[in-house]
Subunit: 208 residues, 4 copies
Amino acid sequence: MGTSGRVGRPPAGNSEETRRLILRAARERFARDGYRATTNKLIAADVGITPTAIYHYVDSKAALYAAVYCDTIDRVYTEFEQAASAESHLLARFSAVLRRANELQIADPSIAGFIVAVAQETQRHPDLLALLRPQRGRHQRFFGGLVAEAAAAGELQPDVDQAGLSDLLGAVLTGLARMANVAGDPSRYTAAVDALERFFDGTLVTTR
Amino acid sequence: MGTSGRVGRPPAGNSEETRRLILRAARERFARDGYRATTNKLIAADVGITPTAIYHYVDSKAALYAAVYCDTIDRVYTEFEQAASAESHLLARFSAVLRRANELQIADPSIAGFIVAVAQETQRHPDLLALLRPQRGRHQRFFGGLVAEAAAAGELQPDVDQAGLSDLLGAVLTGLARMANVAGDPSRYTAAVDALERFFDGTLVTTR
Amino acid sequence: MGTSGRVGRPPAGNSEETRRLILRAARERFARDGYRATTNKLIAADVGITPTAIYHYVDSKAALYAAVYCDTIDRVYTEFEQAASAESHLLARFSAVLRRANELQIADPSIAGFIVAVAQETQRHPDLLALLRPQRGRHQRFFGGLVAEAAAAGELQPDVDQAGLSDLLGAVLTGLARMANVAGDPSRYTAAVDALERFFDGTLVTTR
Amino acid sequence: MGTSGRVGRPPAGNSEETRRLILRAARERFARDGYRATTNKLIAADVGITPTAIYHYVDSKAALYAAVYCDTIDRVYTEFEQAASAESHLLARFSAVLRRANELQIADPSIAGFIVAVAQETQRHPDLLALLRPQRGRHQRFFGGLVAEAAAAGELQPDVDQAGLSDLLGAVLTGLARMANVAGDPSRYTAAVDALERFFDGTLVTTR
DNA sequence: CATGAATGAGACTTCATTCAT
DNA sequence: CATGAATGAAGTCTCATTCAT
């Protein structure tokens, strides 16, 4: 396929960009179709190259997944950390993270779609796990840190199970991201976050 | 009748039970490995039959998925409706549903795993959608109903976006189920739900 | 590609024969073209089936090679042992083995071609080694036994290096088989064996 | 001149040496792994260049094989002729050739490995044949010559089949070389040749 | 002289599915 | 009701080779 129909090196030295294009296309496919259903052929078609060309940039499909993973996870949690650091209380921080997640999702829906799926994919294809080590655990580290800081600051009742709370926050974020992703409509995410914040404010339910 | 009753000739073969075994094995595989990675061969091996034998019970792999879907979704939302009907306020009902979901998950983890994945699978394999019609939308109907009833009962501030709230509740449930499923440890689900209820109670955070 | 152009089970239950046909075709290809250059497609074409059908009989190409190996090696050395047992002195036994090898080669040239190549193939594709264990070492055992018996019978000078002699006999057989195989003309094998026997007789060279 | 002499500008690049390195690496790979399994990438890695660079020295993989062939065959048979010319009787000449072959094998095992495999490789990849013409037949010419000279000198009984004897000598040499190559242990070659010479001497077997 | 990007052909293998038994 | 033989489509990956730089 290619662009000119002939073999050989293409006129322009677009190597670095091709790599970026491959990673992007791969993330979109992995997010939408899952690891298994994503084929090299589809990714290559998205980029406008031959399936074999992918092997100049990564060693295997699994390595491609890993490359996308490292790229993405780093970017997302860096953004989350930034968003959280702008606030000082747990709920406000969590709200800020939810909003930042929404912005990311609007900017590139495949980011959330990819991350939400990572846990399942690694469960289904354990051979991926080995390649993901570097960034593994960052999710838990982030929410665990958020809760631990709140506890240290005396924001939480002393008998609160911090692990449970950390899991809860993570689950709410993931659940919302998943919902928006499946719905394909970011405005539903926004509306759900609004409802959540009204709950935080106490302006959601009339009686308790 | 025929299975529990005593009148008449009992079925020669174990046809009906084989069907149940196939559906169960399929749900477990679909939940754990996903639609694509689940093969007829694996399901058949779990049941102790040949892959071809599956075609006596369903027309295709997609139809098998649909059969599992209808079975499962009906069971789950029937349970949810039952759990909700035992309470009278929104948050209490939601709590009851969360707890019932946990019981289901403990009883058979593949139920939650399967349901959590449905939305993604249908996105990834649109040909499944047609077969899922009958029960489609039951999720939204359930949570929409919950919120609508609360609104009708005056439990909610009048300007609350009901759709957003409904999405939020669904997302929290799904996020928690997903987390527990991935973790493979139901106790983390329980702990997270505990944290959520303390939040409802107002005994989670010290300041608001 | 099949015989009728349609999928499904063929009319006749020729399973066992198909298996034999596959093994035979595989041996011929492995002997003529080598392990690497032999493709499932070629073997299947020889048999008149689809490449995929091969996987009903063996698990992989390597397993197919192993199956051919066990089949063939057993047959050959059984014949050799039989031929040797009909004589009582080392050189006569060796001659008998050479003649029997020639008969085998005429009956089915792929037998010799395959065996001659085994050592190189296993060197080149070490993953084959594991599958070949059962019959491995039969070559050395056979020639070692021949020499040991001659020594025990006092046929050899006491200071003869038995291992060296055993290697020599094996090498001569293999060298001859290889030559005939490459030449594709069994009569050259016969002529060379004739020369060798004249040498044994002392009627080859005039002076020594 | 240019490489050993001191006059004139030394070649800027190391072109000629790179060529030699490529041929050497190729011979080793061809000998060990066979034509098919030897890849340009492996050869290039051995030399420390890129696969593409090989195409500056040869036109194709097949041409590379041919180049190695001509190089090697010429060297070997030149040595053999030299060794043979130092003796005057057939068996002594053959012994000398066997010993010289052993020396070559010790000096560079890939030489024997390559040559032993040539016949099979050309059978398997007939497209190589065309490229090998120049030196083709040198093997037969050499052993044919050896036998013809012995016959002319009256060393052989007049009714001996010269072609058969020539094939026999070639087969013994090849069989031994192959054995040593597969065993990876030149001492076994030596021991086998010792046994052969004791046979020539009449000091191997006690009775005939 | 050498590299890096890219290609097309083809290899092995898996899978859902079908048909005769 | 169930099996076993077989198929065609498709997927991942390797390789020799080419062209522009």
